[in-house]
Structures are given as structure tokens and as C-alpha cells.
């Protein structure tokens, strides 16, 4: 988690956005000191509901930059994710992917208790950038916990995007992974050996499979009217001056 937080705070800095304007609904608990250091507002929501909670925050006060941290790998929250993408709700979803495909690094073996992975170990995981992209996200990227600088840049970039941005961060987490020490010991090499940067790659081809290396990079960067934009556009068109546009890009 720590490298991600570091990258996150760097990213906020780079983006030039006041930390106080950033709200972080998350189903991963942050340390209180971490939050103090970041200077953001933090909401530890129930599992899987970070995105709708963020939707509420954003619509309640469009001036906010809302950055949901999602740790459940779109299990409970999958529906909220795809719909936020469809609406192009102005959120930056940072999906911390603790899932390590079973064959990578030879651990865990198939007999690892399935309950510790967000999916049963024999299931194919979601290709999150692809899912996000196909649901209409305007920005998708994937980095490993190792690529802190790239991650920071991505976050800075995404924070200034209008619409739903998704950044998947591959990072092993003890909660989901029994033999974590095996991996941590040689994490650096592990990611060096097992990841390859392909910016602009079609996320469709960025599946995480045991055979191929983890494809990382920035995949999508497009423009689409956000929910609030199209809301204002449509209603002004129909209601004319009876309607005062809501919030707007920066509240």
C-alpha cells in the first residue's frame, strides 16, 4: 500500500489541485496519519460501495475531486464501476489489485485456500482497464506498485481529466495472499521480470495471464461529456432559462 500512497500524494502535488478539495472514499482502510499527511478528506466505506458513495459526494458538491480507492477487485462493486463508467461520472477510481495470478512466481499453489483471493484461484480475473474502457472510462492505466513515478504522473494526469478515470495498481497484499513473504522478499526483481510497459496498448490485449508478462502503461485517454455536463446540456436545452446549470466543471 505504501508505495501507492506515496505516488498518490506526489500525484496530487503534480496535478496542482488543493488536497483539501480531494475526497477519498475507500473500502481499504488508510492509516489516520496517512490521511493527515495527504491532507485529504477520507471516508472508509463499506465493502464495494466506495464508487456510489463518491458519486454522492461529487453530485453533492461538484467542486470536489473524488478519488475512490477500490480494494475488492470489482467483486461487490463491479456494478457501480460499470455504471459509473457509462455515466462518465467524474471520479478517479484507483483499483488496488492484490490478486496475484496463481502461477506467477510459482506461488500460491492451487491448494491455496481459495477464500483468501478475491476470486477462487481457478477463475480468470477481470481485465480491469479493458472493462473500464469498454464501459466508457475516459482514462485507463495500469501500473505495478513498483512504478511509483509513472503511477504518480498517471494520477496527476487523471485528476485533471473530466470523467471516469481508472488506474489499476498491481500490488501484493497479505490479506489476499498467504505466502506473501515469498513474494515480498524479491518483489523488485519479480516486477522487473514480470512486467512490460506498453503505453497506448489496446487494453483488450492487456489480460493478466500466467504465461505472459503483466502489461502496464497508459491505455486509454479520450474525451467524453461527463454526467454533470450532459445533465446541464440536456436540461438547459429543454428547460431554457428556467434551469440554472448545476455545479459545472469546477463547481
Amino acid at each position: 500500500m505504501n508505495p501507492i500512497i506515496t505516488a498518490f500524494s506526489k500525484g496530487i502535488e503534480k496535478s496542482g489541485i488543493k488536497p483539501s478539495k480531494v475526497s477519498v472514499p475507500s473500502d481499504i482502510p488508510f492509516g489516520s496519519e496517512v490521511v493527515n499527511h495527504l491532507g485529504v478528506d477520507f471516508f472508509h466505506t463499506i465493502r464495494g460501495r466506495a464508487i456510489p458513495f463518491g458519486t454522492g459526494l461529487k453530485l453533492g458538491n461538484p467542486a470536489l475531486k473524488v478519488v475512490p480507492f477500490v480494494g475488492d477487485l470489482m467483486t461487490l462493486g463491479g456494478n457501480h464501476f460499470v455504471h459509473a463508467g457509462r455515466r462518465n461520472m467524474e471520479l478517479l477510481v484507483i483499483c488496488v489489485n492484490n490478486f496475484v495470478y496463481r502461477k506467477i512466481g510459482g506461488q500460491p499453489t492451487p491448494s491455496t485456500p481459495v477464500t483468501f483471493s478475491p476470486y477462487s484461484t481457478f477463475e480468470e480475473p477481470f481485465n480491469i482497464p479493458h472493462l473500464g474502457n469498454s464501459c466508457g472510462a475516459v482514462y485507463t492505466a495500469r501500473w505495478t506498485a513498483l512504478h511509483t513515478d509513472e503511477l504518480a504522473n498517471s494520477i496527476a494526469e487523471a485528476l485533471n481529466k473530466q470523467g471516469l478515470s481508472v488506474i489499476e495498481v498491481i500490488s501484493p497484499g497479505p490479506n489476499y495472499y498467504t505466502k506473501i513473504e515469498d513474494i515480498e522478499s524479491n518483489l523488485i526483481n519479480f516486477y522487473y521480470e514480470n512486467s512490460v510497459i506498453k503505453n497506448g496498448e489496446d487494453p483488450k490485449n492487456a489480460r493478466i495471464t500466467p504465461e505472459e508478462k503483466i502489461v502496464v502503461g497508459k491505455f486509454t485517454d479520450k474525451e467524453r461529456p461527463t454526467f454533470i455536463d450532459s445533465y446541464n446540456a440536456q436540461l438547459s436545452k429543454v428547460l431554457g432559462d428556467k434551469f440554472t446549470p448545476y455545479g459545472g466543471k469546477n463547481g
Binding site: N88, S111, F227, L235, L239
Partner: protein, 305 residues
């Protein structure tokens, strides 16, 4: 036999593409799908000009076409107009909670892999509240057929905006026009891993039938989207005329493009509708990978001993 009846049996005026011969019991014409429909439930609840009846006709015809043991087919529906389909088909049929038929069907499939599970429900049910189960079942590649009747609106509750309502279309909860871009269901299914994806309108009754029959014999998560008119709400609120006008619209604006890349299948308000079979691929189903995994463990343990 009335024209309407013929139409319902899928027999057009020229008598072409009969789905099944006209059945009679002591010279009284009975519904040709008598053995597949719960006739005691007819007349059904659907409004005049609704397309769901056609989808059911196609489905029942497909069941016969697919030549599968009907006792081993379970049909699961959710809530909504299409949710009532389970109540009219004479199979093991379940009318479950809103948005959960896929989850319920998953339980049936894994509880007894012999059963062919068909989830027959609407867009709001499967894609809005059931979206999570939809993408996850596709990812897992649960061996089931999903027939998603898409009428662009929540009809049962009186015409609220749905995640399939085209931009700027009107609905009671988007009284000033829909502001949310709709889902492209085939694309969603495709990108979450469905092995068979097709889309037809209720006008393409024969192709739809064939498609469903094909999908019934497909191993894995198959999705057939059926674009269907809702004369009572969608057409009325948007002033699109009655069911026949919608059918005419499909006739003029539906274009068949097999194998089209699913990302080009967006549907706008009264724009061209691209139909056809888009995806047909092979992937190990959930039970396949489960059994593989199981055998791996067992061999591993043998080695340990």
C-alpha cells in the same frame, strides 16, 4: 386461424417459415407451443404491441429446434415485464428477485451441472441492478443462456429511465430527456468474456429463433439481446407510435452485420440498430476450470504422499 394467431405462431401470410405445424385437438386449433406454455396462464399480462410475446414464441420454437431434453431445462427470470416469462413457460421455472436471476441460475447450474439454465429477463433487471452478476457470470463463463429483452425502459414500474435508454429519450424519471449514455449490451458482454453474443429485434423472429437455438447448444455464457417495442411506455412517452410503427422502424433501420466488432453497436435515439451474431468463441467454462483445478490438487497431493 386468425392472422394475429398465425403471427403469434410465426406463420406469415405466405405461410413461409412455419415454426411448427398447426396443432389440433379434436379439430380445435390449439397453440402450437401448447406443450411449452402454461396455457392456463394465458392470456398473459403484456400490453398490446409489446414484443416480449414474440421473444417467447421465438424461444419456445428454439427449444424445440435445439432438440434438448426439456425436463433438464430450467428457466429463471427476475422482476419486470420480461420477468414474467418464467411464469408462462412450461419448464422448471423460477421467478426470483430483482436483478438476481443470473446468481440464482448459477446456483442451479453448479448444484446440478446437468441442467441447462436459461435466464430470461429484461434490460433493467439484468443490466442495471443485475449488472454485477452479469459481468461476473460472463467472466466465470458460467454455462447458461441469457436472453435479455431490451425495451429501453422500465416498463413494469411505469416507464422510468433504464441504463439502456438512448440519450435524450424521455422517461418518467428523465422528464427532460435522458442524460446518461446507454449501455451497449453486446460490448459489455463481450468485454466481460461471454462466448456467444447476438442481437436481434422482435422483427427478426426467424433469425432470433435460430440464434437462440444455436446458443442453447453452446457451452458457456451466451447472451442474446432482443430489441423489443414497448408501445405502452417507451413509444408513448417518446411519441413513436404503436407496436406496428416500431416494427416498421426496425424493418427500415435494422441492419444485419454478422461478426461486427461489438464496440460499434451503440444504439442512439431512433438511430440505426445493428443486429446479428457478433461473438462465437470457445472458453473453458466455470465447471471445466473447477474440475481441472480439483484434479490438479489431487495429483499434487498424490505427489506429496
Amino acid at each position: 386461424m386468425s392472422t394475429a394467431h398465425k403471427f403469434m405462431c410465426g406463420i406469415n401470410e405466405s405461410g413461409r417459415h412455419k415454426m411448427s405445424p398447426v396443432k389440433t385437438i379434436d379439430s380445435k386449433i390449439i397453440h402450437p407451443m401448447d406443450n411449452l406454455l402454461r396455457m392456463e396462464r394465458i392470456p398473459h399480462i403484456w400490453c398490446p404491441s409489446c414484443g416480449i410475446g414474440l421473444a417467447v414464441t421465438a424461444f419456445t420454437a428454439a427449444l424445440e429446434k435445439a432438440k434438448i431434453d426439456l425436463n433438464k431445462v430450467a428457466i429463471v427470470s427476475g422482476i419486470g415485464c420480461t420477468g414474467r416469462v418464467a411464469g408462462y413457460t412450461k419448464l422448471d421455472s423460477f421467478h426470483t428477485t430483482h436483478g438476481r436471476p443470473i446468481a440464482f441460475g448459477t446456483g442451479i447450474k453448479i448444484g446440478n451441472p446437468e441442467i441447462k439454465v436459461v435466464v430470461f429477463s429484461g434490460d433493467g433487471d439484468l443490466i442495471a441492478i443485475g449488472g454485477n452478476h452479469f459481468i461476473h457470470a460472463a467472466r466465470r463463463n458460467i454455462d447458461m443462456l441469457v436472453v435479455c429483452v431490451n425495451n429501453f425502459i422500465y416498463a413494469m414500474t411505469g416507464g422510468q429511465v433504464a441504463p439502456t435508454t438512448p440519450l435524450a429519450a424521455y422517461a418518467t424519471t428523465s422528464p427532460y430527456g435522458c442524460v446518461e449514455p446507454p449501455f451497449n449490451i453486446p460490448y459489455l458482454a463481450d468485454s466481460s468474456g461471454a462466448v456467444y453474443v447476438a442481437r436481434w429485434t422482435t422483427l427478426h423472429i426467424r433469425r432470433l429463433t435460430n440464434s437462440i437455438a444455436e446458443a442453447l447448444n453452446k457451452r458457456g455464457f451466451s447472451v442474446v439481446e432482443v430489441i423489443s417495442p414497448c408501445g405502452m411506455y417507451y413509444s408513448r412517452i417518446n411519441k413513436l407510435g404503436d407496436g406496428l410503427d416500431m416494427m416498421k422502424f426496425y424493418h427500415d433501420n435494422a441492419e444485419i452485420r454478422h461478426g461486427e466488432d461489438t464496440k460499434n453497436l451503440d444504439i442512439g435515439f431512433q438511430t440505426k440498430i445493428i443486429v446479428g451474431k457478433f461473438v462465437d468463441r470457445e472458453r473453458p467454462t466455470y465447471m471445466d476450470s473447477y474440475n481441472k483445478w480439483l484434479s490438479e490438487i489431487k495429483t499434487e497431493e498424490k505427489l506429496r504422499k
